[in-house]
């Protein structure tokens, strides 16, 4: 028996289920393929969270203490954290990984890709057959999760060598 850590993130599908079911149009697919949620248009109905096959979405509801899980802060730092969160967060809406779109627009890679010390993550243009990601998928027979749903995920997993 082996234990393997496998990251799960938003697949930024080419045929996203979340975009289809969203009643407000808050979930949109950009021309570059990244699926974003406009927090100013989301009403928090969570249809997307239910429809997503990958569990990529979460509902930003209320602040809870990281350690105790309570609504009451357990320390002075937690109180400060709560105050900042209430000021800056998009409460009552759904959020998800967006491939760090702000960084991507500036030509940088998503934070998780830069942070990974093992270079286990590669980010690039799937439409370019010569790109590193396309080559890796081709050579290492990368696979999508649940292709039978027709979502055509943009995230591929490479089998262990």
């Amino acid at each position: 028996m082996i234990r393997q850590a496998v990251p799960l993130l938003c697949m930024n599908c080419k045929e996203p289920e979340c975009e289809k079911v969203c009643p407000t149009g808050a979930t949109k697919k950009r021309p570059d393929g990244i699926v974003i949620v406009d927090s100013k248009e989301c009403v928090g109905c969570r249809y997307c969270a239910v429809a997503c096959p990958y569990g990529a979405r979460y509902f930003v509801d209320e602040w809870k203490d990281y350690f105790t899980g309570d609504r009451k802060p357990s320390s002075a730092y937690a109180e400060h954290q709560k105050k900042k969160w209430l000021e800056e967060s998009d409460r009552g809406v759904v959020s998800k990984c967006n491939f760090c779109v702000d960084r991507v627009e500036k030509g940088r890679k998503p934070a998780c890709v830069d942070a990974c010390p093992c270079e286990a993550r590669t980010f690039g243009d799937l439409d370019d057959p010569e790109s590193e990601v396309s080559q890796l998928i081709k050579k290492r027979r990368g696979m999508q999760l649940h292709p039978e749903y027709g979502t055509d995920a943009s995230v591929y997993y490479l089998p262990a060598r």
Binding site: T24, V43, G44, C45, A51, P53, G55, F59, V93, Y149
Partner: protein
Amino acid sequence: MDVLKHEDFKPGPRAQMEWGFGGRRRWRDGALLMALFLGGIGAGQFVVSTWFIHSVTSALVGLLVVVIGKTVAHLVYLGRPARFYRLFLRPRTSWISRGLIFMMVFAVFAAAYLAPDIGFDWVPWTSDTTLGQALWVAAVLSASLVMVYDGFVLASCKSITSWNTALMPPLFFTYAIAGGVAMTYLTMTATGGEILNRSTMTNLDAILLTTMLALVVIYIVNMAASTSTARESIRRLTATKLAIAFIGLAIVAGLLVPLTLTYYDQLGVGGTVASVFLAASAVLELAGDLSVRHSILRAGLHAPVFSEGL
């Protein structure tokens, strides 16, 4: 954001936690369940009241259950209720948009149809005129869409196998009509109104209850022969705490008991069933309707993200 719990890291089927009582936010997640329930029984009550009983009072109650009850429940559920008007913007692909548009259309036509009988006698139609009848047809058609759309909302979720079945829309539709019969009976009993065509209502109720029982059995058998995730959903419905709601309340109390009473009343063996028992039967039917919707929502499992062998 919720603190991650250990089950978030387990492989295997993952319960949907956003809709229905017992989700992440407990009672507030149940507001959507109430919205779907009230929409179904309210629209059903309007159809039954205008088609079979010709009771304005009961039809008005049905309309108000949809317009006020369903709307308030939806607003309580939303994370940002002030933006509710945005829910109507994507009928091309979203069943929630479509359903709310159906609800609006139903409210307009139903209100217009009932208007001359509830004090607005200056309108240029009555329920007997051609225009009045056209309004009624439009109201009944839109009510039917209100009754059926929540089945499509669930059926469109591909990754939840126990929902992604063509049985969802007819199951929810039949439950909504039956709920409408129950609500009509309770409203007429409460207001002391005479129930015209009582035998027709009882016959209709018997047919609906039998159909619902058949659909539930077909649903269970179908899911039991489906994917492992669907089989796990059935296991949770029948062999965990959820069985109290599904088998105890939805099937036994909500279907078998009312069915027995209805057939007893229909057959007239030993006299008709006392009104108080029929009223209790109607309450059980409504409780069964709510319970079956709750059970299906709670037993909705996403297929495992990772299949074996990764």
